[in-house]
């Protein structure tokens, strides 16, 4: 008897439930490409936005819909990109690894401060107060907004309060580029190794008073560069990276070291004519 009641009651319930679910199944099916989930899983979940999409999921959608290629994701490993590409049966869309580069060499050992800034310790804040008190208006303030902005621990301030970007860790997400109030950082392919390390628009030897490694707009690098690789614009040399030639010729005669070659092993190499960078009697305190 008990068994019958039980079977009846529970059987009835399950029948109702089953019917309900069947109806639900028929009426409300959501169609979403299951590959999106899979691709999203294959992405690094950094949600950094370097791919140009607001996050990994939207990028995954774009990948699946064929609107983007896996190579756009700079955070993923080569293998990871390859996996996604072969899963979706598309090209990797190989993109050369990009890194952020700083266009200033004016650490506290070589660049002078005109005034001492007091207040919130951020470049953004300091740059609003008379440009930050650095004698060179264009120079790095060394308060590390770019460091804070980096989610990948790829930027650190060195002993002279200049940011250094680790080529390994940098994912080219562009956060530091946005963060810098002086627009000193930009994204470049790693293979671009000839680099103008200054943004000062002034010309003449007087500006060496402000900063020992400033570009005086003497123009020698432009003269020496093969194939008109470098032209002078607004008192600064400009490298035409669209026809980039890997050469160290232009740095040879630079008197200040404002143009450098970024050697993968040795780091920043300036020409033999550039004077040694430690200035005697330079103030060593931080530009606060």
């Amino acid at each position: 008897m008990l068994i019958l009641t039980a079977l009846g009651a529970l059987g009835g319930l399950t029948v109702v439930l089953a019917l309900l679910l069947i109806i639900a199944n028929k009426k409300l099916q959501v169609v979403e490409d299951p590959r999106i989930d899979i691709v999203e899983d294959m992405l690094p979940h950094a949600n950094c936005g370097a791919c140009g999409y607001p996050g990994c999921r939207p990028f995954a959608e774009a990948l699946v819909h064929g609107d983007a290629l896996p190579g756009k994701c700079t955070v993923s490993s080569d293998e990871g990109r390859q996996n996604i590409a072969s899963f979706l049966g598309v090209d990797v869309g190989a993109q050369e690894k990009m890194v952020a580069r700083l266009a200033c060499g004016g650490g506290i050992n070589v660049a002078r401060n005109r005034a001492r800034y007091q207040g919130l310790q951020s470049c953004e804040a300091a740059s609003l107060v008379s440009g930050g008190g650095k004698e060179c208006f264009w120079g790095c303030l060394g308060l590390g907004d770019c460091v804070d902005a980096c989610d990948f621990d790829a930027i650190h301030l060195d002993a002279f309060h200049l940011p250094r970007v680790s080529e390994d860790k940098c994912t080219a997400c562009g956060d530091c580029v946005v963060a810098c109030p002086k627009d000193l950082l930009s994204l470049h392919p790693v293979s671009h190794r000839l680099w103008i390390n200054c943004k000062n628009l002034e010309a003449g030897d007087e500006i060496l008073e402000e900063c020992r490694v400033a570009c005086t707009a003497c123009g020698r690098c432009a003269m020496d560069a093969p194939d008109k690789l470098i032209t002078m614009k607004e008192n600064l040399p400009v490298i035409d990276y669209s026809r980039y030639i890997d050469t160290t010729k232009p740095i040879e005669r630079c008197p200040t070291g404002a143009i450098v070659y970024l050697d993968p092993k040795k780091g920043k190499v300036s020409g033999p004519k550039a004077r040694p960078v430690i200035r005697k009697g330079a103030r060593t305190e931080a530009p606060t």
């Binding site: 005109r114 005034a115 007091q118 951020s122 609003l128 008379s130 440009g131």
Partner: protein, 451 residues
Amino acid sequence: MLFDLLKKNPTFRHGIHPPQFKEDTRDKPIRHFPFAPVMIIPLAQHIGKPSVPVVSEGQEVTRGQLLARADGFVSVPMHAPASGVIKKIGRVPSISGKMVPGIFLEPFPGSSQEVLEGKPVKVETSTPEEIINAIQNAGIVGLGGAAFPTHVKLKIPEGKHADTLIINGAECEPYLTTDHRVMLEQAPDIIQGVRYLLKATGATRAIIGIESNKPDAAVNLRNHLPPDLPLSVQVVEVKYPQGAEKMLITAILDREVPSGGLPIDVHTVVVNVATTAEIGRLLPHGRGIQERVITITGPGIKKKGNYWIPIGTPLRYILEQAGAEEDIDRVFMGGPMMGTAVSSLDIPITKGTSGIVAFREEEARKKDVKIYPCIHCGACVDACPLFLNPSKLGILAKFKDYHTMASDYNLMDCFECGSCTYVCPSHIPLVQYFRISKLVLRNEKAKAPHV
């Protein structure tokens, strides 16, 4: 006593009472200042497009001669502050720390104070347009500090009208006494200026608002009031930032300028007294502005006082002439509440400079105190004249949540008066946070269409 309480001077709600420090200079008559060996004249001394030089290097110019013409409507011309030679047209140092386009002028030794005159503009015979053009040609900008071209403000937009002209004589900044002295010494010019302004704007009445700590100025102006002019003097409470135009309009007219709006939205035009006096002084002679009244004061100055200083005089020269102490540590252009600290003494004063305040180290150190976290004491909330919540804004800014600040807490309304920072017991640099936040948001907005 009860009676006194009842007829309290009108004012706005909230605000602060910083010490005034005006005693040192308010009784010092305005005196003329010698010409510096070299004058530095930036081409953008106003908000808007920089002016365009019409002189060339090596050219000799007379005081008051046009140096650069206005470039469009939101721009004003520059006039020579002294007779001399144009040394160079290039980049000059500026208060922003940046080198900006400008002119170096070397006055002739012993050059006279005589000023070149132009075509007079009479109130009675000119149309409002003519007056507005004349104001632009005179190179007049707001002398209250913002340096906004005055003629732009006077040009009432289509579909709006002005019924009241408020002359801002509040001068609520501590230390500064320029407007005070102007009201005492240049009452006829002010009256004349009001006539021009009334005609230009079409307003039917004008009110001069003066803080109650300048009773002599109020009396002086009242004595000069001509019977034929719908002009009156209104004394308002001493309170910072009474001089902000929104606060003055609220105090005098009990109107509120809508958020994101301008005084003209409540049918009002606000002009600073010194600006008014300058209009009244220059237009009848067709001159251009070449000097302005500046208070030089502060604990770091020995010869405190009010001076007519030619525009373009370098700061270093002014300080030397005014006998600044050797150990000055901070120098501000403008008052201590709203003014800008200068990073170099090689920059010139401009049309917008209403005062120079120099602090020695002791005063300066008072600001350099330990910052605590916000303790929600509410002092800032009780101080903000715009009824914002600086505490919340500050916390949001610290965590870089700029969008919430703008969307939920009216960040963009903040006019950076600094009242909140002044009262904060935790010494949080609130205004600095807000400046950054606003800048970031504006930059974002500027970039938005490209993304």
